[in-house]
């Protein structure tokens, strides 16, 4: 049996504010295998990026974390120092390239510094940049001289430079034109085909459909559906997933009615119920994720009754 690249079990993250507690991630469990590309999708603010930051130990001081996250069955990502793990074994393509790049260093200096720190020759900089579709000529520019898409590609190059076996890519295609989106996605896919693992955090359902083996849908801090990609797009099980798919411009282009709940005041039951046409009294209790969807009234028959 293959050793999972990452096992997350019952992960819960809370942020203490002065007057409230933010339920950012709740009871999240997932397993990702070597060679697998898992896409995590959902509305903005549902906890996708917090999940990424938790796995890299990048949470602020007001965060409390419980549960378990283990890399290659030998390294806990929630306890202890992550020196030697962060960057080298778990890479991150950050969501905001504008704030992730050191503004006083050129792209070349940033990339060479990363390569050197991970024992690779500085002369690899041009090749690593070219791999992500970043023209090496532009490496001599400072971050403020790069377009949003160019900065995004530079961040991807920096994350890939140490060749981490697990890469968490948080919205790596934002601001890229379609050929570059496809180029980046193909690059991630090739990494998985070579035995590495990628968690692709994205709101771009088309991107997820193109390269992911599996898609996990998050809503209000929880995973509400986890299915193989083709099955999820053909027969979504959770009403929220169906709503997201219907919002695509080439489908209905209709927003899911209502707004996501406040993460400081989540209901005891299903958080999607106030926006759901199928909701009834049963939804006042939290459904289990025993089939593909965490729902009392799934759109497809659950393999195991909730």
């Amino acid at each position: 049996m293959t050793t999972p690249r990452l096992s997350v079990d019952g992960l819960t993250v809370r942020f203490r504010l002065r007057t409230a507690v933010v339920h950012a991630v709740t009871d999240l469990s997932l397993t990702v295998q070597p060679g697998e590309l898992l896409a995590v999708v959902g509305e903005s603010g549902c906890g996708k990026s917090v999940l990424a930051h938790t796995l890299l130990g990048l949470l602020p001081r007001n965060a409390t974390v419980s549960g378990r996250a283990v890399l290659d069955e030998d390294t806990s990502l929630l306890t202890g120092r992550l020196t030697g793990v962060r960057g080298r074994r778990v890479g991150l393509v950050p969501q905001s390239p504008a704030t992730a790049l050191n503004p006083v260093r050129t792209g070349r200096r940033l990339l060479e510094e990363t390569l050197r720190a991970h024992g690779r020759p500085r002369t690899d900089a041009d090749r690593v940049a070219a791999d992500v579709g970043f023209d090496p000529i532009d490496l001599d520019r400072y971050p403020h001289e790069l377009s949003g898409g160019m900065a995004q590609r530079l961040c991807t190059a920096l994350a890939l430079a140490p060749e981490p076996p697990l890469l968490i890519a948080d919205e790596p295609t934002t601001g890229l034109d379609r050929p570059l989106v496809d180029h980046t996605l193909d690059l991630l896919r090739r990494r998985c085909d070579a035995g590495n693992t990628v968690i692709l955090i994205t709101h771009d359902l088309t991107a997820a459909q193109r390269v992911a083996d599996r898609v996990a849908v998050m809503y209000a801090s929880r995973i509400v559906e986890d299915q193989p990609t083709n099955a999820l797009f053909a027969t979504p099980a959770h009403p929220y997933t169906a709503g997201l798919l219907d919002a695509l411009p080439d489908r209905g282009f209709r927003a899911v009615p209502g707004h996501p709940p406040m993460l400081t005041a989540l209901p005891a039951g299903c958080a999607f119920a106030p926006r759901c046409t199928r909701a009834n009294d049963a939804c006042a209790t939290m459904p289990n994720l025993s089939g593909p969807a965490r729902c009392h009234h799934p759109l497809i028959e659950q393999e195991v009754a909730a």
Binding site: L17, E43, G45, R254
Partner: protein
């Protein structure tokens, strides 16, 4: 003539010319899509049209009146007629301010009555889907998508005649994207505003824009070609 237009605009960064004698117009009540390669000058064009960046050559006109040239003298009244949603909300917001103050910025800057600011902010927050608990947070404590919704509320606050959306929905999920498109379309129907939608997402532009302009990659040998698609 009700339109926001660029006339022969050129911009270079050092030796690299990103816009070369580019002309385009956005009519009142019209939604114009703009697409093009990453790094091809789309965001530069938005900044020039938004009157926050001077062009090296050419000028911008608002309703037929030339309002800026290479010297970049811009009447304040012209600025208030243009709303912008930038590509990166983190770079476009003051990290020290709470979201409700960020949304209120253009209201206070344009002399909106103090007593009515809170009510208008609340109305805008409701429109874009920002819950009250988010309004009291600062940018570092919310997601990029939530911050972009605050920027949308800010862009609409002073009821601009033209709205420039630079990849404004690129970081939003499909549902929020559809919601933002609906909010902007409703605002356009109500106000007659002209909207420029910069996006790489062809299905989105096909669905949303009245016409789409393709910004061709720049070469030193060719002038910028803005081709209607």
């Amino acid at each position: 003539m009700s339109e926001l237009a660029a006339h022969g605009v050129s911009v270079a960064y050092g030796r690299q010319r990103v816009l070369d004698q580019l002309s385009l117009h956005i009519g009142a009540g019209e939604t114009v899509g703009l697409r093009g390669a990453s790094g091809g000058g789309k965001s530069t064009l938005v900044r020039v049209l938004a009157l926050v960046q001077a062009a090296d050559a050419g000028h911008v006109s608002l309703d037929g009146v030339r309002i800026t040239g290479a010297r970049h003298h811009v009447p304040a009244a012209a600025r208030t007629r243009i709303g912008v949603l930038f590509q990166s909300p983190r770079g476009a917001t003051d990290p020290r301010l709470r979201l409700d103050d960020i949304v209120a910025e253009p209201l206070r800057a344009t002399g909106y009555p103090d007593a009515a600011v809170r009510e208008r902010v609340s109305e805008l927050a409701d429109l874009v889907g920002l819950t009250p608990d988010l309004l009291i947070r600062r940018p570092h404590a919310i997601s990029d998508g939530q911050l972009q919704r605050a920027c949308l509320a800010r862009a609409l606050a002073h009821r601009p005649g033209y709205l420039l959306c630079d990849e404004a929905t690129a970081m939003l999920d499909a549902s929020t994207q559809a919601h933002v498109a609906r909010v902007l379309t409703d605002y356009q129907l109500e106000s007659g505003a002209g909207i420029l939608v910069v996006s790489h997402d062809q299905p989105l532009l096909t669905r949303w824009a009245d016409r789409v302009i393709d910004l061709q990659p720049q070469t030193h040998e060719h002038r910028h070609a803005a081709t209607s698609v």
